[in-house]
């Protein structure tokens, strides 16, 4: 089945087959990344604009790296330097970027739905690099890619997402990806940050850490975004850590082979003990590396490439 999608806006709209296509393509690119010459000419002559209207380090660097590995030219626009600070609307900013003959826009924005909005305005592909608390599709794709590398098929596998789910776009993208891939997903955290409404997305919700972690094969920790909750959603960081932080005892409840994931940035000693972050079960840095391959796959496919044309040989 050929790849036909021009934009990557959400995982919710992807079919299982499309997720698998991205993963297959990412695998091929990952092999290329292992070579001494890590560059392919797939997007030579194309210009990708990274429009990051909200701060980001990891995602912006990974998109930058991915585009350069594909030989694209990359221009970064950040909120502080963009005309949005002078009152320009997102529409005008984006239309200007298109008029400057960019071939693709990667957008990070604090307002949910803005990549969809841009995709309706522009003729060039729009890639969502995180929109508010809505979705972060490349993160969901790289997380499930990493899980599959360790576990094989995710069908029936118990995955726990622990932390601030309410404000997390990473959680939502992972929920969509994991449920499509057949995983058994449980969300855990303080009740104020894990509303029951999430069950409508095909996952379980629990406030009991012990039973939720029991036999889980994956635990994904999310950062407590304390600044967003204005101290109304839970009493303190200290109480959070005492109730929900992942420590050695609690990690012992997991399946012995379980992997520990985190999309970063991690807060050591808050949501995760420092030694667990660096321990043998942690795949946190693998996630970062896989983020390049997955984003190469996404940029390549949305620019019109086909999965079967990526050959790791040569």
């Amino acid at each position: 089945m050929p790849w036909t999608r021009r934009h990557l806006l959400t995982i919710e709209e992807l079919s299982l087959a499309e997720i698998e296509q991205i993963h297959t393509t990412a695998s091929a690119f990952k092999q290329i990344l292992g070579r001494s010459v890590k560059k392919v000419p797939a997007l030579r002559g194309k210009t990708i604009v990274n429009l990051f209207l909200e701060p980001s380090t990891r995602t912006r660097m990974a998109f930058d790296m991915a585009a350069k590995r594909l030989s694209a030219d990359v221009i970064a626009v950040e909120a502080s330097s963009s005309s949005t600070t002078k009152g320009e609307t997102l529409r005008d900013t984006a239309e200007n970027i298109q008029a400057l003959q960019a071939d693709m826009i990667v957008i990070r924005h604090s307002a949910a739905g803005s990549p969809l909005y841009l995709s309706r305005l522009l003729d060039i592909p729009v890639i969502n690099a995180g929109d508010g608390a809505h979705e972060h599709p490349t993160q969901g794709l790289l997380d499930t890619f990493t899980m599959k590398e360790h576990l094989g098929s995710l069908k029936g596998r118990k995955v726990v997402i622990l932390g601030d789910i309410l404000f997390s776009r990473v959680a939502r993208s992972n929920i969509h990806a994991l449920t499509k891939l057949g995983a058994d997903v449980t969300l855990v955290g303080p009740s104020t940050l894990v509303p029951e409404w999430f069950t409508a997305m095909g996952v379980k919700v629990s406030y009991d850490l012990k039973s939720a972690l029991a036999d889980a094969e994956v635990v994904m920790l999310l950062r407590i975004q304390h600044e967003r909750q204005a101290s109304s959603h839970f009493p303190s960081i200290g109480e959070y850590t005492s109730m929900f932080g992942l420590n050695k005892t609690r990690a012992g409840w997991l399946n012995p082979k379980a992997i520990i994931m985190h999309p970063g940035p991690i807060n050591r000693g808050v949501e995760i003990d420092s030694e667990l972050a660096d321990g043998e079960h942690s795949v946190i840095l693998e996630q970062v590396t896989n983020g390049i391959a997955v984003r190469m796959a996404v940029l390549y496919l949305c620019a019109g490439g086909q999965p079967e044309n990526v050959t790791p040989a040569a």
Partner: protein, 431 residues
């Protein structure tokens, strides 16, 4: 002014319990029982076969944006929308720029109404100075300047003490207080109904509890003081239960519903279309059904649009940043007929009552009947005509409508104010 003879209309006048095919006669701007044979010869005749003739529609909740936001709407263009939608009496909200919190601004608005309006437009004044919820506006002076109610619509008086004093004070002038029921502390940054959809879309939720709390507060305060509070645009199922109980206890509470809250739900937000963003937000199917049930049993008294124009460029933004509100005057009748009559089997006369006599009665406005001697404010519509609604071709300065591009059923053909045709064949008659 020539006499008018409207022939063979289905005359629906709930105030007079009349629903029969017949003729209407108008002399000197008033409804009369009959015309002499000679007068009939001279009268302007309107063939209304197949049309419904009802009292001109009444909407006690519109935003005409004048003064200060005339890029969105003016009293002239707003009144044109009203006429095109079959409305002959409308009440405009005071959240203008500056807010209508003093007699001078009301005088300015009344001057614009006399100069520009093609239908009857009544102003309201603010409850508090600058809509800030801190100090009472000069309510007595506002009354003397001609307001028909006071409201901080768009905002809600958060202090229970101030609200209590406001209604107690306004009662002295027999002035209803209209409240936009929203606990602000629970809705910081909220842009849509809180629930499954907001969770899925990652948008900040506006819980119905924030409306329910203020509705309950208002029922309590109304009963405590004996003052009349009108609850604007009720959107939540729980609120309707509270109102029902309050009314059964005898509280002087009235309440309204909007066409959008009976027609649409938060499922409509899946595409982040800002023409579905309003305050209070679209809620769930269960709320929508409860609002319809509330209209059926009289818990909710009337239908009002909350006509809230915003320009294309203001609405054309990220969902979080777009302003709240939609226009509604030109689509209200068609949408309401569709939801209440066709889908929910309300009698036509019941729906007309909800859009004429009942809203007029809430504020004591002289409107809503075709009785002999009444002002000849009349709406003639074809209940079955299908038409394509193009919001950009409408009479508003704005086009922020969720019904843009849709085929609607039920179309206003002629609107008459004080015996004068103000809208006919899709056009506003020049003043």
């Amino acid at each position: 002014m020539p006499s008018l003879w409207i022939k063979n209309a289905r005359i629906v006048d709930p105030a007079a319990k009349r629903d029969a095919v017949g003729d209407l006669f108008i002399v000197d701007g008033k409804i009369v029982a009959s015309l002499s044979a000679a007068a009939k010869k001279r009268a302007k005749k309107i063939d209304a076969r197949g049309l419904v003739a009802c009292p001109g529609l009444v909407d006690i909740h519109v935003h005409f944006r004048e003064p200060g936001q005339t890029h969105k709407e003016t009293i002239a263009t707003g009144s044109h929308c009203a006429a095109a939608g079959g409305f002959t009496t409308v009440v405009c909200m005071p959240n203008t720029s500056p807010p209508a919190d003093n007699a001078g601004t009301i005088q300015y608005i009344n001057d614009a109404i006399r100069r520009d309006a093609v239908v009857k437009v009544y102003p309201t004044g603010c409850i508090t100075v600058g809509l800030k919820g801190q100090a009472l506006a000069p309510i007595g002076s506002l009354k003397r300047a001609g307001v028909v109610a006071i409201t901080d619509d768009g905002d809600c008086v958060q202090s229970n003490e101030l609200m209590r004093r406001a209604i107690e004070y306004a009662k002295m002038f027999d002035l209803p207080v209209m409240d936009h029921c929203q606990d602000a502390s629970m809705t910081q940054g909220a842009v849509m109904n809180e629930g499954v959809m907001s969770t899925r879309l990652g948008l900040r939720g506006w819980p119905n509890a924030a409306e329910d709390l203020i509705v309950a507060r208002n029922v309590v305060l109304s009963e405590y003081t004996g003052a009349h509070i009108h609850l604007q645009h009720i959107s939540s199922k729980f609120s309707i239960d509270v109102i029902r109980r309050g009314k059964s206890r005898g509280a002087r509470i009235t309440a309204e519903a909007t066409p959008h809250h009976i027609a649409l739900t938060d499922e409509c937000l899946a595409g982040y279309d800002t023409n579905f963003k309003m305050n209070p937000p679209l809620r769930t199917e269960s709320d929508r059904r409860a609002i319809i049930a509330g209209l059926r049993d009289g818990t909710l008294d009337c239908i009002n649009t909350d006509h809230a124009p915003h320009t294309d460029y203001e609405k054309d933004k990220e969902f979080d940043y777009a302003p709240n509100g939609i226009i509604g005057l030109e689509t209200s009748l068609a949408v309401t007929l569709d939801v209440l009559v066709r889908q929910n089997k309300f009698k036509l006369a019941h729906v007309i009552d909800l859009m004429t006599r009942k809203p007029a009665a809430i504020l004591g406005l002289p409107a809503g009947t075709l009785a002999v001697g009444a002002a000849a404010d009349i709406c003639l519509f074809d209940p079955n005509e299908q038409w394509l609604y193009d919001a950009k071709a409408g009479f508003s300065k704005s086009s922020n409508s969720p019904w843009h591009g849709q085929t609607l059923t039920g179309r206003v053909k002629t609107t008459i104010v004080d015996g004068r045709v103000v809208f006919e064949n899709g056009k506003i008659s020049s003043r």
